[in-house]
Structure formats: C-alpha cells, structure tokens
Amino acid sequence: MEPHRNITVDDYAILRLPSGARKMIQLRIEGVINMGKFGTFNVENVLGYPYGQAFEIGTENKVSAIESLEVGITDLAELDTDELVSGSSKDNRLLIDGANVQKLTVEEVEEMKNKMGGNEVAREIIQTMIKNHGSFDKKTAYSQEKYLDRKHKKFLRRFSINYLTSNEMLDYLYYEKEPFRIMNLSIEMLGSMMSFGNVMPGGNYLVVDETGGLVVYAMLERMGNRGTITLLHENDQPSVHLLNKTRYVKEISTSPESMVQCINVLQFLEPETERPDFKPLDEEEYKKLPEQMRTQYDRKLKRFHIINKVLDRVIENDFESLIYVSTLNPTTFVPKLLPRLRGSSPLVIYNQYKEALIELNHIFLREKGILLPNIHHSVVRKYQTIPGRIHPLMTSRSDGGYILTGIKVFPIENVVAIGRGTKKRRIAKANESNGDNSSGKVEETKGEECKASEALETAEEVSI
C-alpha cells in the first residue's frame, strides 16, 4: 500500500507553520483551513502538490507554492533597514537588559495587520518593529539575526502540508504535549523497535500497542501490503484511534483478510475455551433464514471467521517477532507470550521506564530461552545550524523510553544446566573429573559465552 505522493483529498495531513506550530487537518474537498492570524486557505488550492510542499499566502489569500518554509528567512540583506547595515555592535555590552525596549505596541501591530492584506504585512511589521526597537543597533549581528528570525517566524504567512507519516504523527503528539499518550516514545526509539523487531513485508507479528495505534502504523509502513499483525489488547476493543487517520484504516479486523487482527488477552491466553459460541448454518439452513435475519447472520459469520482465524494463528506458535508496547507489567506477561514465537524470532519490549524492564531481563538471563537480552536506549541530540554558531540545542524534549531486546532460542536442557553458575559447574566438573579432561573445556566455552553476554551468569563474584 503506497503512501500518497501528492496532497490528496480526504487524507489527514500535518500542517506546519514557520514558528514550528503544527496542526492535524483533514483535506476535505470544499474545506477551508483557518490558521488564525496566519490567514486561511482553501483545500482545493493545495491539492495535487507533492506532500511536503511549502506555501505562502499572498494578497487576497492567494496561495502560492514556495521553495521551503525557511527560504530567505534569515537572509539579512532582504531587509533594507538602516540599522541592519550601519548599526550592529561587535558585542552586546551596550545592550540594556530588561523588557520594553520595543516601542511598537501590541495594538499597533494588530492595527497594521488589519490594515494591510497579504504576506507583505509580515515584512512591513518587522521593519517597523526594528525601527521602533530602542536598542536594536546595540545588539550584535548575531542577536539581530536571532531577533529577526523569531519575528519572521511569528509573522510570515507560510505553511507546509506534510504526509501523515508515523514520524509526523509522533512529532505532532509531542508538540501537543501529549507524549504520555504514546508512552513517551521518541522517533529514535520507534526506529530502534522497527529494526530490532525486523519489521518488513510478509512478516507475521505479535503486537501489544498502547500508543493508540502509532506503533502498528509504523509497522504497516514497513510492511506495505504484505504480512499480518496480531494485535493483543486488554479491553473489549483495542485502542487504535491514530490508525483511523491513516490509509490503513480498513485493515483493522474488517475481514478475515485484514492485515491487523485483534485479540484480547483472555482469548490469547485461553484460545481453546474462547472459541466463539456460534455454529455456522449449512446452505439449507441459511436459505431458510428470513431475509431480514440474513444480514445479521452474515455479520456474525464474518466475526466468527475472523476470531477463529486469529485464534488459529495464536495456536500455531509461529509469530516471527514480538513488539510489546504496554504498561502491563512485562515481567509477568511477556513470559506467557514467548511460547507463541518461532525460533530465532526477535523480541522488543518497550517501556517508558528502564526500571520496569530489569526484572524481566534477569529472568531472561536466568532461564536462557532468550539470547542477547539487553536494554537499549538511544537519544538523538539536535543542533542549531546557523553557520558560525553551530551548537547543540540548549534544551530538548525528555528522552524517549527503553527497549529490552533479545532473540528466542531453544536451549537444550542439560547443556544449559552445566553452563549455569559456578556451583553447578563445579559439581559438574567434580562428577566428570575421572580422566575426561574435556569437561574443563566445556566450562571454558560456557564461561566465555557467559562472560560476554549474560551478566547474571558470568559467575561474577562480589568480593566484600
């Protein structure tokens, strides 16, 4: 299922302003999008442009495509104000700290906005502001630039329309200060989950998603139109409202062929007893049904097929990856899910808190059914890129969460037993020490493996 390349009617999309403000909109054919002080535009005027396109609102609300939101914004030469050319300090020692150096009042700005039409208003306002700024010429060229940049972003009537990717969705929720709704997931951690989880077309994945469908959406982006997601949830229905805004809206359990099939934890954990209490009619019986009962019966039959198919899938024990994004305690839940995975399948357990993953990691280290169990975390640091003034941003959003990853394997019982812990190994050694020197080597192999990957079993001893 290809994403739309061009701005398409009825799509949900993300509108961005130069200030960084974001809005989720639906592109209804006769719709008018109101951006408040930044103007309004008709949806039909932006349709057909490629997604990502930037626009500027000119006089009479005329919309024209522009190169990018930022083009020309920090270009000082564009502004023919005297102060900019003649007056800038080498440093800001003459600048007086404090507010109210701007003599242009809010009322005056509003009046200008009302008097003038189109986008020129922004430049006009900014130039007037500079002329009325008590100490603009006392600022360094750098602060002047920053000031103009800020003002431009505040007044320019520009916007861009972006395809609603999982990244844009995540970014929008963060902008809306709702990261808690997606368990504080960051783009980098979402990306990690997709890679560690080996998400790709044709896969058969087991998923718990408490982000309203964001994680499922990111997976579907990677799967195109091949493969299945079995979505495990704890209520009557899963919460996938975010998915409803995407091109995959029809893929959620609408037919036995839908990519995403839902199942609740009771059905999943007791699949045999949770088969629907429904007997399909044979052709004879169906024909006998009164007309008005048939629609209802058809619906019931479809649901019966859907639920049976998903229960069959659970019983097959053939999921190729587990992606677990839930506040349900993973320590007690995840071990119940593992038998359903195929061998060599990766698993990715996400949590906002590292603390909630440690105990499960210890279980993996102890019980050996999961190889390479480790907690990963990545944070992306962003920089300001004004040439000559490059530095990391001074503040940024809180880090995203953590993932516990591993690979499902089938250890052979007794071999593992020998490999475990010092005491047992010592016993093993003692038992085998009648001339068979090789047992020492077995220890070494295990020892090496343990040292490298499995902290608990390193026989790391605490010397006090």
Partner: protein, 342 residues
Amino acid sequence: MPFIDRKKYIAEGDLVLVYVSRTIIKPIYVKKGENFNTRFGSFPHETMIGLEFGSQITTPKDRGFVYLLQPTPELWTMSLPHRTQIVYTPDSSYILQRLDVRVGSKVIEAGTGSGSFTHAFARTVNSEGRLFSFEFHESRYEQARDEFLMHGLGNTTITHRDVCTNGFDIENVTLDADAIFLDLPSPWEAIPHLKSVIANDRRVGICCFSPCFEQVVKTVESLQKEGWSDVELTETQGRLYESHKAMKREVDDAVKRLKFVKEKQREGLALIKTGKRQRKDDDEPLSKERDYGFNPFGKGKRIIEGDEEFEWFNVTRLEAEVKTHTSYLVFATKMPFADGKA
C-alpha cells in the same frame, strides 16, 4: 533469500548465523559434509538440517554448544569484525525511520563500506524497492559485491565508483531516488552530483554521516547552497545497559555485626583475664574480622551475584567502555520545484 524471506526450518544451502558467543557470530552456508569448527569442537552441518532456527546444538561429545540463528541485518552487523567501518543499529535504525525509508523506497548509499547498513536498507525497501550502493575502494567493492550476490540481495545494485568525482548516474537506469545516505570523507563533493538522480515528483531525504565536526560545517554549507531545505544536524547517542544485582546491605545488620564482634572481644578479654587465653596486645582488637560467626554481608567470602541468601537491588550498568560517538548526522530534504505541480 535470507534477510528478506524468513523461514522456520534450516535447509541445505541456507545462510545460518552461528552464535558462539556475543563477540563470535559466524555466517555459514549449510552444506552436507562440511563442518563448523571451533576451538571447542566441530559441528557437522548435517546435524543442522531440518532443525528450527534458534535451536542449540552441541558437539558430538557435548564439549561445546552454539545457537543457529536466522540472519537479520542487525545480527549481521553484530557478526562483523569490529575493526571494519560499521554503521551500528542505533544510527541505522534512526536514519531509516527519519528518512521514511519503507517498502518500495529507492535509496542511494555511498560508500558501501562493510555493507552492514546495505542489508538493513535492502530489508526495508524489500522486493518492491531499489537500492543503489556505491563503493570506491576496490577490494571492499569486490567483497561486498560477492557478499550481496551470495545473500541474494536482488534489489541491490553495487557500483565501483568514486561518486565525488564521477557522480551517481548509471547508464540506462533511472535511479529516481527518494532517500540518500552518504558515508564519505567529503560528502560536500558528492552532493552537487545528486541533482540528476533524485526523484523530481516527491520529497527526497538525505542523511550525511561524518565523524568530524569540520566535515559537518562543510556539509551543511553545501546542502544549503545546493537548495536542500530543513537542514538538521543531529547525533545519535545509543546506550546499552546490562542488568545486574547489587547487594542490599542494611545498617541494622552492620550494627548487629559490630555488637557481635564486640561481644566476642569481651569474651576473649574475659578469657585472658581468667588466664584461659594469652593476651597479645591490649590495643589490638582480638577479632579483626576473622570471626565470621555472624556475617550478614558475607564479608571475605566469594558471593555470586544474586545469591539467594542475600537481598539484592535490581540495577543496570552501562558497558565498561561506552560507544560515545559514531558520527554526526546531517539531514535535509528537497522538494520538486515549486512549479512542478503534478
């Protein structure tokens, strides 16, 4: 095709990643009659056939064991020797996500390097997509070419080329790329050559990967000059935590122990006074921690982490040597010209 098609059971001819230890993961092609040799013994390939991926096998004499894993780009990356230039998963996964690489994407990668990221790209764009990889180092090119062939990366084309000088155009092929990844010493020399090979009907994303700061400055300038917008400089900091247990040591136990030792000393002194034990030096404490009669923290003993006789905190620890820097990432996007309305 490994990496792109997943399967459940091992068959002859399959690529298997043999997990020996965290630092030793070896690729083999299963072939009857051959053996996988380690210093702990030999594993006949024959014993692997028909097993489910993820199985553990032992040498005939149980002298050692290994796990048979199905290849993924991430495991492949782990299997590479560390001296090779590798784009590790914290970076590659972020780049894939940020550049919106997905089924059907058309990607340019230069240089190929160890080929580790190539596998992740190939997996992600899958059969529906295309990947054009360029490598200027001849022996690395040859190695990667052969490897991609063996791995059946049918969606990937590798070219031996210095893209900085000769650009990205491939005769008779429309690259139409929408995602670019440049891991080159001087990406700013390659950026101007991109014009003719990127898609002109949709948004195109680029990521330049450079370890040094001065490279970044030149890359940012070049991208701005070449009409790329939304230039963003970022850096991924990936961290790997190990889970451990730290002993919960209570002050009450320490107090009890001091009292215990004191009592022992008193008893000792009493014995001395009654002449039953010889006095050594009245200033020297008699016990000197030698007496472990009451020893709540196992002082002086060797205790295995997590020993059930004690209480433990669940804690995490970074590796002793942390990867603190890989490269800076410069992202940018390019739109079709404003008049390019479809």
